[in-house]
Symmetry: C2
Subunit: 349 residues, 2 copies
């Protein structure tokens, strides 16, 4: 099994699919019986409602190609190639499960979803249109995103809100700054407040998420000898599951008002629900014994949550390998992931 | 006299001389007997040491041409044209004084210096090379820069130091900022300190200068979802006469160290000495009765001061007109400036 998964992973890595260029890979998947191609996404199977549906999700794209990414190769028990960990090894596991399990006899309906443009901006991801085009997927009793998690089960995820905060000043010659108002200086109190702000911990059972705020960009310039008339910054608020996007937005707006900045929210991604109580998640934990972790960064489980689909991340790739030069994955982990999912799908109900 | 000065000013305004393009204007001046052309600068006369020398300084260039600058015209007692106030009206006064006074009989030696590239960067100004090429000018008992001062006598000037301050952080995913160090947040304490810092007043007799510090640029960005690894800002320190450039630099370095920033000084312009006790300045004040003011912004009197030449600003142009669209100057002020300087040069000793 390990050999098969490793070879399949290597072959998948050799099909270039940087974000936006997933057509060739989608074509290879779409010829299978029962496949539906939607743009450059492909869905194998359907959630008919006859049995509880388990949907496995994987994205076809990788981050942009770097020098040395091709050809993919195997060495020292690892597959080396662009996307090996994020997440072509996982695609190999999905394909093998689809082809080798006796799906009719499973206690669940298996659906495999391969989607495009995950590594690009939120709004351009292929997952949104796909979920719109395939309402049957909303019936899924559990969705597993096979993103790299080192075979831990990662549940929930923090939401992410971006806002542009603008401090307004009044320009003046920098020899006579009292005739103006320095917008960059005005930003100081907010920055100092954020500098001293500890993460706010929010716990769900054994899992703890941390709400944090960071300025990730600041810009202020009018002229070298001119008191700046405005200072703009990007504030990123990561908020824990359980808090709505509206509530997160209200908190950022209140903060901006308190420190005298204008506020324009530019991006709102909801938090992903913590699905610890989902019966299939309990089953997966019981059968696999894998570690369970909170997911701090935003992932597509939140997008699935928006469609009412309980979702968690669980994949054989390594988080530390994702997006790295010389990316690789462990062949043993591929096999272990396959076997854990095989057992889960076979004994889930 | 007013008619002559106004017509001459109008004619000078009609010769385009944006910074760096002063050749045509320099040529018109250089044909006079006793003229020396140095690059696009022209000096009329020489400080021989036979009598105390009074040097009048004017720059030939204007800020870049704007739509509607040409042709220059007269209307409502004013000359309209690019550079009318800054400072072709003053050039007309200098030329008229040079041509109409009986220089042999004056109690002082009159030298008129017309230089280029004043409106550009400090290092590119024509005044530096000119002062190097004409060591006789260092003998001047007084230099008057005929920059627009509304016919006030402006003495001294603040120095100006620019430094790049860099806060270093450590990048991390903005979902896990505690794994890094936010360089933009680190800048907050300094910005807040500057925001609350009142100008520091430094007085010389009746004149008060204000030492001020302003951030005029800030930049920090690594990625939208990344804790910024560095934050860079430009700090401009305007320091009063009496403080050396070295002392100003030490103060900025100490401030940077106190707030944890690296510091690179990028520009040092010295303060201009307060020449209230200069005998010719006293004489000018006594004869003219004009108001005396401190000069807060940096001007070339500081550069002259570096060469040991006592200098002050005194000109017929209007400060509010300088660099403005539709720039103009008062014909009455041209005449008044001419008469005040004529009297000063005639009765100075």
């Amino acid at each position: 099994m390990r050999e098969l998964l490793a070879e399949l992973t290597r072959a998948l890595c050799d099909v270039r699919s940087p974000v936006g260029e997933e057509a060739a890979l989608a074509e290879q998947l779409a010829y299978r019986p029962g496949a539906e191609r939607i743009g450059n996404s492909v869905v194998l199977g359907r959630a008919t409602g006859a049995k509880p549906a388990v949907a496995l999700f994987g994205h076809l794209d990788t981050v942009p190609i770097q020098e040395g990414d091709f050809p993919a190769y195997r060495a020292g028990g690892r597959v080396h190639g662009r996307g090996a960990s994020d997440m072509k090894g996982a695609l190999a596991v999905m394909i093998a499960l689809w082809e080798r399990l006796d799906r009719e006899r499973l206690p669940v309906e298996l659906v495999c979803v391969f989607y495009d443009r995950e590594e690009g901006p939120y709004e351009q991801s292929g997952l949104g249109p796909l979920l719109g085009a395939r309402p049957d997927l909303r019936r899924a009793a559990l969705a597993l995103c096979l993103e790299p998690t080192d075979l831990s089960l990662q549940v929930g995820c923090c939401g992410s809100l971006h806002a542009t905060l603008t401090f307004r000043g009044r320009s003046a010659h920098s020899a006579r700054p009292w005739q103006g108002k320095n917008a960059v200086h005005e930003a100081g109190a907010l920055l100092q407040h954020l500098n001293g702000l500890p993460p706010r911990e929010v716990s769900f059972g054994e899992l703890t998420y941390r709400e944090v705020m960071s300025v990730t960009r600041i810009d202020g310039f009018t002229g070298r000898n001119v008191v700046p008339a405005s200072c703009e910054l990007n504030l990123n608020f990561r908020f824990a599951p359980g808090r709505s996007v509206e509530d997160a937005e209200a908190e950022v707006r209140a903060l901006a008002e308190r420190f005298g900045a204008e506020c324009k929210v530019t991006d709102r991604a909801p938090a992903g629900p913590v699905v610890l109580d989902n019966p299939l998640v309990r089953k997966l934990r019981a059968l696999s014994g894998v570690a369970v972790e909170p997911k701090q960064a935003w992932t597509d489980v939140a997008r699935l949550g928006l469609f009412g689909i309980p979702a968690a991340n669980f994949g054989p790739g390594e988080q530390a390998q994702a997006h790295q030069k010389g990316e690789s994955c462990s062949e043993e982990a591929l096999e272990r992931g396959y076997l854990l999912l095989q057992r889960f799908l076979t004994e889930a109900a």
